[in-house]
């Protein structure tokens, strides 16, 4: 605990993304109505650009089961489509109220080519075994290696209210270049409602952000990046979580001289 509390200065290792990783799943709205079609964007960081991506939706009214499993084609299931859409189950109309309910989860599994058998199994169709695994996604992972595999999930709320929550927007600005091992100051502005717990989360392909996250006490905050010692381009991603299920992604880059 002591170490945890004291380790709060310098670039955070947690912000370095140097292997295959699903970094964000961003639906166009954080809260949808039953039957609403939702576009969605998934950010996958892959240094080797050699991966496959499986995405699916699980609408749960009971733990461990998905409404989508009952249909012949799994609604919202897609392969190798980071940008796509899915439809929130119309069956939720009977339960949706003005109170947003966390009923929908959007899953994304990225695997290095040839590493995950599920992609080959899908070619043969949706078997019962696959349906079971998609309802308990961690089972898909059990026999897979740590490296080259990334599974991520995003929750979504369902309601029938007239003014559902919307996604925030995020813009960040900073220098184009930085000295090796130098610090670059970025300024990020968020538009939208910010709830308690709202924060920015930084990621980079080299070097590191100072602090894995920065709390959002106002709509504009500064965020520092410590550059790597090696020269070259560095990819940057900053993600805002507004504390009320909304999120947005900013992507950019900086060159180390």
């Amino acid at each position: 605990m002591i170490a945890l509390l004291l380790a709060c200065a310098g670039p955070s290792e947690d912000t370095l993304v140097d292997e295959l990783r699903v970094l964000s799943i961003t639906p166009e709205v954080p809260e949808a109505a039953p039957g609403q079609q939702v576009r969605q964007d998934t950010l996958v960081v892959d240094p080797f650009e050699d991966h496959r991506l499986l995405q699916w939706t699980c609408t749960s009214l009971a733990p461990g089961s998905c409404l989508e499993a009952e249909s012949e084609d799994w609604e919202g299931l897609s392969v190798d489509e980071p940008r796509g859409s899915f439809t929130v189950s119309a069956a939720l109309a009977s339960v949706a109220t003005d109170e947003p309910l966390p009923l929908v989860r959007r899953w994304a599994l990225a695997c290095e080519e040839g590493l995950c058998p599920v992609f080959d199994e899908l070619d043969a169709g949706l078997t019962e075994a696959l349906r079971r695994d998609l309802q308990a996604p961690t089972e898909l992972l059990r026999d897979l290696p740590f490296e080259g595999v990334s599974l991520a999930v995003r929750g979504m709320y369902v309601s029938s209210r007239e003014d559902p929550a919307t996604q925030p927007t995020l813009t960040c600005a900073g220098p184009w270049e930085v000295e090796p091992a130098g610090t670059a100051e970025f300024s990020c502005a968020v538009e939208g409602r910010l709830a308690e717990g709202a924060a920015l989360w930084g990621y980079t392909s080299a070097g590191g952000w100072v602090g894995a996250s920065v709390p959002l006490r106002s709509a504009e905050v500064g965020y520092s990046l410590v550059a790597p010692e090696e020269a070259g381009p560095v990819q940057l991603w900053v993600i805002v979580e507004d504390g009320a299920s909304g999120s947005a992604v900013w992507s950019g880059s900086i060159r180390v001289r």
């Binding site: 605990m1 002591i2 509390l5 004291l6 709060c8 200065a9 290792e13 947690d14 990783r21 699903v22 970094l23 964000s24 799943i25 996604p137 961690t138 992972l141 059990r142 897979l144 740590f146 490296e147 595999v149 990334s150 599974l151 991520a152 999930v153 995003r154 929750g155 989360w201 894995a212 996250s213 993600i239 979580e241 299920s245 999120s247």
Partner: protein, 741 residues
């Protein structure tokens, strides 16, 4: 405790032998023989030791002449054979001894005809597996930093607690399954923060009794073992005191006689390790302030010896650990554990029939806060009453008994406010218990059947009963070999949180139970060297499972692994078995203790599930302690500990929760991996200087002298791709001074 039992010589039978005169010292007769009657004689009463020496003498029937004093002086120089008890053991004795004089006043006949004999005899302890440690014997053993209670952690049957914490996991059970007592009264904790030292100073203790299992009916509401800290009810021979300082703390202890029958004791301790650590851990740049860890304890005791012994003890303990932020009221983390007790004990012993009454009252609090939104506490304002009658069997009186009531009552409250879970409860409780056991002693064999009943009633609607029959057997095969066996049922009630309807508890939960079996043999190889071997099997059932949380307060480190979040139920079963070896050597100049435990402890949480290792399962634990007196008041000691690492649940994969932006581990089979083995060596040197009115002692103890980096808990990096074992303390020198008068 030893009792003086009066026995008529004629009733002792052939096995009991009286002291016989070996050498009569000549009396220094007066120059002129005094005038004597027709049958001149005098009667002396002699107290004779186990070695046949005359310890004390008084004239019972004098001649009324100067011969009385001469005979008395001569008696002190005479030698006898020792008395032998019914088991053939040498024993102390008191005999009446008649000296007959002839006309010239020469003692012509000395005899012990028709003597009344008082044989001092050890009572049979009803605790079949009890290991008693005299405070004096273990004060200098290394690894304890002078704390006698810590030696319990090195005894067989005790799993090594992670990170040196105070938890005593005994015979494969959880720390909360065992109980800690002070003179038979329950106390909430035995060690200060992280097990640094015990909450009752060793100077106040007469002995530490450790019962790893198969406890007698005196102890209830438990599934594991018992640690009973025992103070003496005897008055100190003279006023005395002690002041000590070491790396962690300073303490004082003063015992003062107030007249012939009363003594008062005042003791206290204050740690100052926080003063050392706080500047090191605090960070002025971030405003982080650390108050860690600090603890106090204090005791006030008044003992009065009259027809009965009265003992008033007020004692308390306060531990605290805090991380503070820059703001006045910003608390990152805070931990507190404190209690206060007032206890009155009355002990009366009449020819072996003992009556002991203890009443105890006081509050206790455990508190934990982690930033905003995480808070938990357990509070108890309780009272206890124990009223017990006992009569130990002896060779002359083969039947003994013990019977008593053991009642708890008060008010409990708890709060568990962690993340989305907020549970709060409060309830009055009343837990009456009663027990009785009888002992039948037939020569070298003794059997003790007993029965204990407990009830728990809470005003939240919960009630439960338990009835626990127990039987222990003891057979002294030879003078040096004793076989012991015991079987018994043990019960422990669920916690308030588990049964509180307001916290989704279950009112129909039953007491958890265990059936404990112990078989052991103790053999004294030579004087001072004994070996003890015991095997045990404990079958646990009706264990309460469910509602597991990532943060499990007050009962050890946070658990890892998949959690059973279903409602509470008595679905758990378990089995714990093992073998324990204890070799003790108490010589004139050295003390040694070798303890080895082999054990397995498994649990099945829900019907149909596979058995898994218990979280404190340590198949092999070894401890060796040695202390050697050297010339010039030096003493050298060492403690070596080695053993298996604890099991842990490995992480086999993880996924990323983009809402919380954190990784969620996917665990493998529960407790299917094990930490690396443990090894630690502590060494200690003591030196003392004796002055006219006081003595000074100094010690240096090097804990973990080889700087072994023992893995204690498993942790992971934030994406769970790397295991990062949390290791034990590095080498730590502890220097202490102690002044005694």
């Amino acid at each position: 405790m030893r009792a003086l039992i009066a026995l008529l010589a004629s009733a002792l039978g052939a096995e009991v032998r009286l002291p016989e005169l070996v050498y009569q010292a000549p009396a220094a007769l007066p120059a002129e023989a005094p005038e004597l009657g027709e049958e001149p004689s005098l009667l002396l009463r002699l107290q004779i030791s186990e070695q046949g020496e005359v310890l004390d003498a008084l004239v019972v029937e004098p001649t009324g002449t100067s011969l009385d004093e001469a005979a008395l002086i001569a008696a002190f120089s005479s030698r006898f054979t020792p008395a032998y008890d019914a088991e053939g053991q040498p024993s102390g004795a008191v005999i009446d001894y008649r000296v007959v004089f002839d006309a010239s006043a020469e003692p012509v006949q000395v005899q012990g005809q028709g003597l009344e004999v008082l044989v001092e005899e050890e009572r049979l302890s009803p605790e079949i597996g009890e290991r008693r440690l005299s405070a004096e014997d273990i004060r200098y053993l290394p690894g304890s930093a002078g704390d006698v209670v810590k030696v319990v952690q090195s005894l067989p049957g005790v799993a090594r607690a992670p990170l040196g914490t105070a938890n005593l996991s005994i015979r494969g059970t959880a720390p909360e399954d065992s109980a800690t007592y002070l003179d038979g009264s329950p106390i909430p904790l035995v060690f200060h923060f992280a097990g640094l030292t015990s909450v009752v100073p060793g100077e106040a203790l007469d002995e530490v009794a450790f019962v790893p299992g198969s406890a007698s009916v005196r102890y209830g509401r438990l599934l594991g073992g018992v640690v009973d800290l025992r103070t003496t009810s005897e008055l100190p021979e003279a006023s005395n005191g002690q002041v000590s300082v070491d790396l962690y703390q300073a303490s004082m202890f003063v015992e003062q006689r107030l007249g012939e029958r009363t003594a008062i004791t005042l003791a206290g301790r204050r740690s100052y390790i926080d003063a050392v650590l706080s500047p090191l851990l605090s960070n002025p740049d971030t405003g982080l302030k650390v108050q860690a860890p600090r603890y106090y304890d204090a005791q006030l005791r008044v003992v009065h010896q009259g027809d009965a012994s009265w003992d008033l003890l007020v004692f308390g303990s306060d531990d605290r650990f805090r991380f503070l932020g820059a703001e006045e009221d910003e608390v990152f983390a805070s931990f507190a554990d404190r209690f206060l007790r007032a206890r009155v004990r009355r002990v009366q012993d009449r020819s072996g029939l003992a009556h002991e009454t203890t009443v105890s009252l006081g509050p206790e609090l455990r508190f934990f806060e982690l930033g905003e939104g995480t808070e938990a506490y357990e509070r108890d304002l309780g009272a206890s009453l124990r009223d017990e009658w006992s009569l130990a069997p002896t060779a002359a009186r083969p039947v003994g008994f013990r019977a008593g009531v053991d009642v708890l009552g008060g008010q409990q409250a708890f709060l568990f406010d962690v993340g989305p879970t907020r549970e709060e409860g409060e309830s009055l409780y009343f837990a009456p218990g009663a027990y009785a056991e009888g002992t039948l002693r037939l020569g070298r064999f003794a059997a003790t059947p007993g029965l204990r009943g407990d009830a728990l009633v809470m005003d939240n609607g919960y009630s439960a009963l338990s009835l626990d029959p127990r039987l222990s057997l003891r057979w002294a095969v030879t003078d040096r070999t004793v076989l012991r066996a015991a079987i018994g049922r043990y019960s422990a009630f669920p916690t308030l949180r588990q049964v509180d309807p307001g916290a989704d508890g279950e009112l129909d939960l039953l007491p958890e139970r265990s059936l404990q079996t112990t078989l052991g043999v103790q053999h004294e190889l030579v004087d001072g060297l004994s070996i003890e071997l015991a095997g045990y099997l404990s079958e646990l059932d009706d264990l309460v499972v469910g509602r597991e949380e990532r943060l499990r307060f007050f009962n050890g480190p946070p658990p890892v692994g998949p959690f059973d979040t279903d409602p509470y139920a008595n679905d758990g079963v378990g089995r714990s078995l093992g073998a324990e070896l204890l070799v003790r050597y108490d010589g004139r100049s050295s003390t040694a203790l070798l303890a080895a435990t082999w054990s397995r402890s498994r649990r099945i949480d829900r019907p149909g599930e596979d058995a898994e290792l218990f979280e404190s399962d340590q198949p092999l634990v070894l401890s060796a302690l040695w202390s050697q007196k050297l010339p010039r008041d030096l003493r050298l000691g060492a403690r070596l500990r080695a053993g298996s690492g604890n099991p842990y649940t490995p992480v086999v994969q993880r996924y990323f929760d983009t809402d919380s932006r954190s990784f969620v581990p996917v665990y493998g089979e529960r407790s299917s991996a094990r930490l690396d083995p443990f090894f630690s060596l502590d060494v200690r040197v003591d030196k003392s200087w004796t002055f006219q009115r006081w003595s000074l002692g100094a010690y240096l103890e090097i804990q973990n002298a080889t700087n072994a980096r023992n893995p204690e808990l498993m942790a992971w990096n934030t994406d769970y791709s790397k295991e990062i074992p949390i290791t034990s303390n590095p080498t730590l020198p502890v220097f202490g001074l102690r002044g005694q008068w």
